[in-house]
């Protein structure tokens, strides 16, 4: 923080925006995007490799590592939203509620001494199970009406938490930090003279989860299921005529997406070790959705730079205090003005190549 120069931050911001626009406009940029999109599964290794390199370079910086882990966790949640919104066209404004369900599951089960990886999985499953309450109304409505149902859910979720004293009421709950293979993630890695912040553990955990679910979502996108989802999103009636079970795939995408969001929420709660209802406001849900929209709806790779933009930029603008959200809002408006489909729009499906793979 001491060494942070606001001019450096502003320059970095402008440079990254130009880079984003450059990638989308230049041939080299388009080629790079095509490589990311069309290469084999090995390309996903870029995520853990790059993440690990950054993590190791910052291994003593608690705060920077915490922000890196937060970006990765939000990116994971947004992969869930991409499956729902970007692939299947199921609008979910309650992302933060499912994130919170995962977090509260971690708070409750973590205190019971269950293995942390099981708690993470439970976070996803409970999130999906509670999400099933919404399936019927979401299936029976579409467009704005479906959006309204999920908005109502996020508002109800917060009110429910605030009056539920078993779950800590408005004051919230402490959450046990994760323990994997008998090693608390709140103990920093120490090998010889190498000493790392304990947040590096959470970066590694988030990287593993992100890489696994990124790969899974990529398989989903490139499989016949992805084609079903695309067709259903573009023209549900036409898809149904061709034998796609629209209701089934809408439910599946909603459930799978919520599992991912719940796992992300459980990981985040374990890292922060505290969870409270006031974290789960509708505004937070919009921020999560903003990551998907800003990145480019349906583009898995885009959630990572967009998560950086939404999570890191407001934090880096702390020095301008009350004006930081004004600057952030102007930035978002400018991006959407000049790139209405997001920074990195999803490219057209190259069906022949995909079949060839």
């Amino acid at each position: 923080m001491a060494s942070e120069n606001q001019w450096v931050i502003a320059s970095a911001l402008v440079a990254s925006l130009f880079l984003s626009f450059g990638i989308a406009r230049t041939k080299a940029g388009r080629d790079f995007a095509a490589i990311l999109q069309n290469s084999g599964s090995w390309i996903v290794l870029l995520i853990p490799v790059a993440g690990l390199a950054i993590g190791l370079a910052l291994h003593e910086e608690h705060f920077a590592l915490m922000m890196l882990a937060t970006v990765l966790i939000y990116a994971l949640a947004c992969i869930g939203l991409t499956i729902q919104f970007g692939y299947a066209g199921v609008i979910n404004f309650a992302g933060i509620a499912f994130f919170g369900i995962g977090g509260y599951t971690a708070a409750v089960l973590g205190g019971m001494g269950l293995p942390s990886l099981l708690v993470l999985l439970a976070g996803g499953l409970v999130s999906a199970a509670i999400g099933c309450i919404l399936i019927l109304p979401v299936l029976r409505t579409k467009g704005h009406y479906a959006a309204l149902i999920t908005i109502a859910f996020v508002l109800l979720f917060r009110s429910f938490l605030e009056v539920n004293h078993t779950l800590g009421g408005p004051q919230g709950l402490r959450v046990e930090s994760a323990t994997i293979a008998g090693q608390s993630l709140f103990t920093g890695i120490r090998i010889g003279s190498f000493e790392a912040s304990f947040y590096l553990n959470y970066v590694l955990l988030a990287l593993v989860l992100l890489a696994i679910f990124f790969l899974m979502a990529r398989f989903l996108e490139k499989s016949w299921i992805g084609i079903n989802l695309d067709s259903m999103r573009e023209d549900p009636v036409g898809a149904a005529v061709f034998g796609v079970n629209v209701a089934y795939w809408r439910i599946m995408s909603f459930v799978i997406g919520n599992v991912l969001i719940g796992i992300a929420g459980a990981t985040f709660a374990m890292m922060q070790t505290f969870i409270a209802p006031s974290n789960f406001t509708f505004q937070q849900s919009l921020l999560m959705l903003a990551i998907v929209v800003l990145g480019g709806i349906g583009n898995l790779w885009a959630v990572i730079p967009a998560a950086i933009l939404v999570v890191v930029v407001p934090e880096k603008l702390q020095a301008i205090s009350e004006y930081r959200f004004l600057v952030f809002a102007i930035l978002v408006v400018l991006v959407l003005r000049f790139r209405p489909n997001g920074l990195f729009p999803r490219s057209m499906r190259n069906f022949r190549k995909e079949v060839g793979q």
């Binding site: 009110s159 004051q171 702390q318 205090s321």
Partner: protein
């Protein structure tokens, strides 16, 4: 000859330059950084900005003192009154080793969420606005202190004040955060065994906009007084809708509504609102007039708000600690833990074994667009009347 004169001039110049450098080096002081955390954006930003300005005033005043040991720098961070953002900002401050101590939080929900962070990274902090008792009493962290009292101090005075005015039939509207809910629990505890009857309580979300359902019920049960436990933005909405729906009961709020923005938002509707606060009017505090004058001289765009003096006191305490024991977190923490009867503009400060400073709360009433101490008001003099009595 010329050579030797040239060499002499060069030598003298070099000596002068070196002496100058040495002198400049001696004059340069090490910088001690103090973090300020509060809501700088959002509905509670008026209080947060007033607190930040007050903390900055303390820093700037000390920097103007030539005899100081250190240069001081304030690092303001926005917690947005959200626990997750608060944890993020607290981690940012606590993991920056150049930050010696922190002046932290107005919102109780954030303050309670961040105490673990300060303890984990051993950053001594002094809370300037949050009043939930558990912040200091719910843990045994030596890093956490509070200058502004708690809702225990405040609620005691509120109950005595309102019962003394003859209000026996209450309705309580509280926000469902730990602030409002915690206050309700304390009110119930303090009213147990008294002849005051709480006719009904209404929990409302902190961002709720419409209170028709609650207020129509209040109108039906017709209490003498509506006691509101929440923050200014919500209090403004409740009070204005009371008027719209014709609820004529007296309105009282806890210190969360005591902000200049309450009058700005409500205009003449704020008149007669009762409140209590852990701070006395600035002019009556031991160094209050000096604070008012210096604050005005500094030309801040925002008013200090009632909690501003506590941010000033908290910052000054930290500065005094650094001056005495040096810019070292552990030493500052230990110094703070021994604070007893330390003079400040808000009166003497003593941290008990929990790091908590108890204060005597003051009764207020809104009069002509200002918060006026009850004893000095036209209401106490009988020239104006409260409702519901």
């Amino acid at each position: 000859m010329l050579w030797s004169r040239g060499i002499a001039v060069a030598a003298l110049t070099a000596i002068a330059t070196l002496s100058g450098l040495t002198l400049t080096h001696a004059q340069q002081k090490e910088t001690a950084r103090i973090a300020f955390l509060g809501p700088l954006t959002g509905g509670n930003s008026a209080t947060g900005l007033g607190g930040r300005n007050s903390a900055r005033l303390a820093v700037d005043s000390r920097n103007a003192d030539p005899d100081r040991r250190y240069d001081y720098e304030l690092v303001p961070l926005d917690d947005e009154c959200l626990p997750n953002v608060g944890i993020q900002a607290a981690t940012r401050a606590a993991t920056d080793r150049s930050v010696v101590a922190g002046v932290t939080h107005f919102c109780s929900a954030v303050a309670i969420a961040t105490v673990d962070v300060y303890n984990r990274f051993e950053l001594p902090v002094v809370v300037w606005g949050a009043i939930l008792p558990a912040i200091t009493h719910g843990n045994d962290y030596p890093e956490v202190h509070r200058v502004n009292g708690s809702m225990l101090d405040e609620s005691k005075v509120l109950v005595e004040f309102l019962t003394g005015l003859g209000y026996k039939r209450w309705a309580v509207i509280h926000d469902t955060t730990d602030y409002g809910t915690g206050y309700l629990a304390i009110l119930r505890e303090k009213l147990a065994g008294s002849d005051v009857e709480i006719l009904s309580t209404f929990g409302v979300a902190a961002d709720q906009q419409d209170f028709s359902a609650e207020l129509l019920r209040v109108k039906e049960i017709d209490p003498q007084i509506v006691v509101f436990a929440g923050l200014t933005p919500l209090g403004v909405r409740v009070r204005s809708q009371m008027d719209r729906l014709g609820v004529r009961s007296q309105f009282a709020g806890i210190s969360g509504i005591m902000s200049v923005s309450y009058h700005d938002a409500l205009g003449s509707l704020s008149e007669g609102t009762i409140s209590v606060h852990n701070s006395a009017p600035l002019e009556t505090l031991p160094g209050g007039q000096m604070f008012v004058d210096e604050y005005a001289k500094a030309g801040f765009a925002e008013p200090p708000e009632p909690y501003g003096p506590y941010a000033f006191v908290a910052t000054n305490l930290i500065i005094e600690a650094i001056e005495e024991v040096g810019a070292n977190r552990e030493a500052v923490r230990d110094w703070l833990n021994t604070v007893e009867n330390r003079n400040s503009i808000a009166g003497p400060i003593t941290f008990d074994e929990h790091g908590h400073n108890s204060v005597a709360s003051t009764k207020y009433v809104a009069q002509d667009g200002r918060w006026v101490r009850w004893e000095d008001s036209l209401y106490a003099a009988g020239e104006r009347m409260l409702s519901g009595r």
